[in-house]
Symmetry: C2
Subunit: 255 residues, 2 copies
Amino acid sequence: MISVVILGAGNVATHFFKGFEKAKDISVIQWYNRSLAAIKPYANAVEITDDISALKAADVYILAVSDDVIAEVSHQIPFDDKLVVHTSGSVSVYDLDKKHKRGVLYPLQSLSKNSDVDFANVPICIETIDKKSYPVLKHLARSLGSPTKRINSDQRRVLHLAAVFVNNFTNQLYRIGHEITEHEGAEFDLLKPLILETAKKVQEMSPYKAQTGPAKRNDKKTIKKHLKLLENEQHKAIYKLLTESIIQTHGRKKL
Amino acid sequence: MISVVILGAGNVATHFFKGFEKAKDISVIQWYNRSLAAIKPYANAVEITDDISALKAADVYILAVSDDVIAEVSHQIPFDDKLVVHTSGSVSVYDLDKKHKRGVLYPLQSLSKNSDVDFANVPICIETIDKKSYPVLKHLARSLGSPTKRINSDQRRVLHLAAVFVNNFTNQLYRIGHEITEHEGAEFDLLKPLILETAKKVQEMSPYKAQTGPAKRNDKKTIKKHLKLLENEQHKAIYKLLTESIIQTHGRKKL
């Protein structure tokens, strides 16, 4: 049995709590948040507190708090030499107070607070400084049902960066698709099957192989038509830059 | 029973042929391509020809040929006043020879030649010049199992443009995610569940509501870290431009 204290009340904290509740050999013995209101709904299921000096002794402390307060909160944990991990993609493991054994449990997924999570679709990237902490964190992640991967800090940083490209930036391209269709009275809904198919395709095939379209074909006529059609200067700049990027990736050798 | 002649041998021609073969009340009576080799595998199922002057009389001629030759091939069809449609997102319906009744059947999906297509996920956008042709084309599309939508030329043009954003450009963002992870020895595979989740999210929720991440939060610290991490100047420019675009979409009012 691994005993866990969760700190924070955001999406990751909430889904980790719910996931551990279902796991057989994990016990969440306490849930801390600086404001009790957010975790009060769980008061019947777990001891809650807003007093960090009242934290109980546990095997693992999971800091699912904002990046900015990870260092400070880890410092306030009133124990030494405990295994303390954060869940951030971009904060160094060394930002955690060095009085602890330190690690990271980084769930590589977009977790919405109000929808259920299937942890089978949430790879958890694990980083530890000492070797002995690794199997403990792997056990925690596996008990949620997540696939796990041991990574180092550099790899975590680029995964977080790549996640911005494939999630936030991709979503902004959907948003632009929404803007330009609705502007003309066409339905964004018509694009939804294509959006899903594009994401499904790269589950099996590399994005390189999956590419199609006017930029890949270097179809200057269609590219010109599209640029003429775009009224928003920023959309035009995005069209140009991503077209150039595709041409560079797939470009034929220059004559 | 609607009789159809298919012209061309690409992905759209092939999937339309296979789809119509399964439909009850559609009969593909002939398949034309300028080279017989590509359609020879279907010679037992349909009459094939490479001689456009030998085309049979049919209710509908579907030109699933390259954009560049639509006008010319439509001119060569040795009949007048037949219903002739092309399948392109970006070519005007008026590019078809005016001796015909003219229309468009534009499948809004990425069709790969070697994988099966479920037409339930392929919305077909229909455009006609005369009113009487519309129900015929709708019947054709429905018999494939596709959802249909009547649109005009302007709407088709922006849908094709938006498809480039949500399909080709999105796929290029996946490609960049692939490049930057593999460069650091991290696995692109770890990003695949996130890619799928991002696409699934906007099936139910607007891309505006679905947005998360450092750009939306205007988290300058993380944005700075990311820009420092990117070595490729083009990736850096894409990061900057899409971050600006998200900030503009979600920006708080200026003080």
